[in-house]
């Protein structure tokens, strides 16, 4: 895969004696939608931090556009990869559109009147909230505003870009979760974005992802299309879940029945 946008090669991250990640390797191209799954403590957030360039692996390397992350100047990297963390605390009574405008690159930085700000807020269904103060927004509204901010950062960058989303839709109601992920999937399909999404909802991952990466205890157990990763055997082994695939005229449906005793 020579046209890989992202190349993760043998990434190992240790904290003391414990390995948070052990020799994780995969490659991905723009246009792909990766869902990163695994139980709590599996190493999902550590892997996301390694992909973002926030931490340097103890072994192995992450390369973006063929260039190792530590070799990227931060400002240049910011044009090619954008990150939404689980929590983004906002310190002051910033308005929603001002938060998005903080993501705008270069001279447009901070300009809440930029047309892109309104366009992205509308894309995620929060255009009506643009003048609202950040603390007055609900958790789900804040997540959608942050998504607009994260997209604003790389929207006009040339070439393929990497979007790292860590549980970015966890506070949304089910319908909005699907709507937001459909927007993102459509963006990826146009070919400019590689999206890596950390997620806990198996059905959501199944619907959104073109590939599912299953992490457990710092190891990459599986990396394939959703139906081949989310098998009842693996879900039982990794999560302790009882599940099965049901046949339906529209295609197979994953049915989670409960926790194993």
């Amino acid at each position: 895969m020579n046209d890989a946008l992202l190349n993760v090669a043998g990434v190992t991250v240790r904290a003391g004696d414990r390995a948070l990640l052990s020799e994780v390797s995969f490659q991905a191209r723009a246009g792909e939608r990766l869902a990163l799954l695994g139980p709590n403590g599996a190493g999902k957030s550590t892997l996301m931090r390694a992909l973002a360039g926030d931490l340097t692996p103890d072994a192995g390397a992450v390369t973006l556009h063929g260039r190792p992350l530590p070799d990227w100047p931060v400002a240049e990297l910011a044009r090619r990869r954008s990150v939404m963390m689980q929590q983004t605390p906002v310190g002051f009574p910033v308005r929603a559109d001002e938060v998005v405008a903080l993501g705008l690159p270069g001279r447009r930085h901070g300009n809440a009147a930029d047309p892109l700000v309104g366009e992205l807020l509308a894309r995620f269904g929060v255009a009506a909230l643009r003048a609202r103060a950040w603390p007055s927004l609900s958790g789900g509204e804040q997540q959608r505003v942050q998504l607009a901010r994260v997209l604003a950062q790389v929207w006009d960058s040339p070439g393929p870009r990497l979007l790292l989303l860590d549980e970015s839709t966890s506070a949304l109601d089910p319908a909005r979760q699907y709507r937001v992920l459909e927007e993102l999937a459509a963006l990826a399909e146009q070919g400019d974005y590689l999206i890596v999404l950390v997620c806990h909802d198996l059905n959501l991952a199944n619907a959104f992802a073109s590939r599912v990466l299953m992490l457990d205890q710092g190891r990459l157990l599986a990396d394939d299309v959703p139906a081949r990763v989310l098998t009842p055997e693996r879900l039982a082994a990794v999560y302790g879940l009882r599940s099965r695939w049901l046949t339906h005229p529209d295609g197979p449906v994953l049915h989670v029945e409960g926790a194993l005793p």
């Binding site: 002051f92 910033v94 938060v99 003048a131 609202r132 007055s136």
Partner: protein
């Protein structure tokens, strides 16, 4: 009731109005005082070089003092705005995080331990050194393995400030009557001894903060989303942190050296400007500088006219006026 949709005043007119207010305040300050000067005398003195007796008072005594007040207020307020951004805390203030306390300790040490031997110029120099040393200590304590943790910096600053204040207290206890008078007046802040030579001495350091701090506005904006997010946005966060601390130490050190401790302006001015035009540091820092200058010129004018021919310490005037005003503002905003 919390403002769900914060209103913003247009930026350019607001900044222009603040600047105009500063000009007006400076003119009023030049005319007001035990010897009241007619506007015509000031005009002729400034533009036609007429040395009327009233004008000499203005030129040699009031103007340097007014200029010093404006510079000190602007430096404290722009440093306050930047520190609040850095610490993501609207309460961060040069006074709270120990920089002023360090400067005060330096000055008091010279007054009490040095006696008269070190000369008048030693006091501002010691204040300056005190501010730099405290800032350096805070920075060392909060830095591990090339990373500086902002929360730790704030806590370290508060602790070092408390220690510096306690040491200042010990020195005050040791001081004799004569030293005590210098020391008290200085600890409560005063611009009474500002001459043109003093202005020349500290203005470059004060201006460094006023002029250079706005250059850090973009990374400070990014920091509103947290350090990690600011890095993801591509800002050189570690460099910005260092620059804010160094500029803050330099300009607060110079401000304390020139005028003693003036609290509150570094807290109130940025807060008010944030309410008016919003949180973007590109406009917030200069706006706070202008408002800080206005407030300090105003407070100093009151300090020297209210009980003329005697004087009140400006630090007291600032706190007595600013405190209640700030409280009213807080109560109104929270709908009490």
């Amino acid at each position: 009731m919390r403002a769900a949709e914060p209103r913003r005043w247009p930026v350019a007119p607001t900044l222009a109005a603040l600047t105009a207010l500063l000009g007006l305040g400076m003119v009023i300050a030049a005319l007001a005082g035990p010897l009241s000067v007619a506007p015509a005398t000031l005009w002729r003195g400034l533009w036609e070089g007429q040395d009327a007796p009233g004008y000499l008072v203005v030129r040699d005594l009031r103007l340097p003092r007014i200029l010093m007040a404006a510079l000190v207020g602007a430096a404290l307020a722009s440093t306050g705005a930047a520190l609040q951004g850095l610490f993501r805390n609207p309460l961060a203030d040069p006074g709270l995080i120990g920089i002023s306390a360090g400067a005060a300790l330096g000055a008091v040490a010279v007054i009490v331990l040095g006696g008269g031997a070190l000369g008048h110029q030693a006091i501002p120099l010691a204040a300056f050194a005190g501010a730099l040393v405290t800032t350096f200590l805070m920075w060392r304590i909060a830095s591990r393995g090339g990373e500086t943790r902002v929360a730790l910096l704030l806590l370290a600053g508060i602790a070092i400030g408390a220690i510096a204040m306690a040491l200042t207290g010990v020195l005050t206890f040791l001081a004799d009557d004569n030293e005590l008078r210098t020391l008290t007046f200085w600890a409560m802040g005063s611009l009474a001894h500002s001459r043109w030579s003093d202005v020349a001495l500290v203005a470059p350091w004060l201006l460094a903060g006023i002029v250079l701090m706005p250059l850090l506005a973009r990374p400070l904006n990014g920091l509103m989303l947290g350090e990690q997010a600011a890095l993801h946005l591509g800002f050189a966060v570690p460099r910005a942190k260092r620059a804010v601390m160094v500029l803050g130490a330099v300009s607060v050190g110079a401000a304390v050296a020139a005028a003693g401790q003036i609290s509150f302006v570094g807290l109130v001015a940025p807060h008010l400007v944030r309410l008016l035009i919003g949180v973007d540091h590109r406009w917030l820092i200069p706006g706070a500088a202008a408002l800080g200058a206005v407030l300090t010129v105003f407070a100093d004018t009151l300090a020297r006219t209210l009980v003329a021919p005697a004087e009140l310490p400006i630090g007291l005037v600032m706190a007595l006026l600013g405190g209640p005003f700030f409280l009213v503002l807080l109560l109104r905003r929270n709908g009490v």
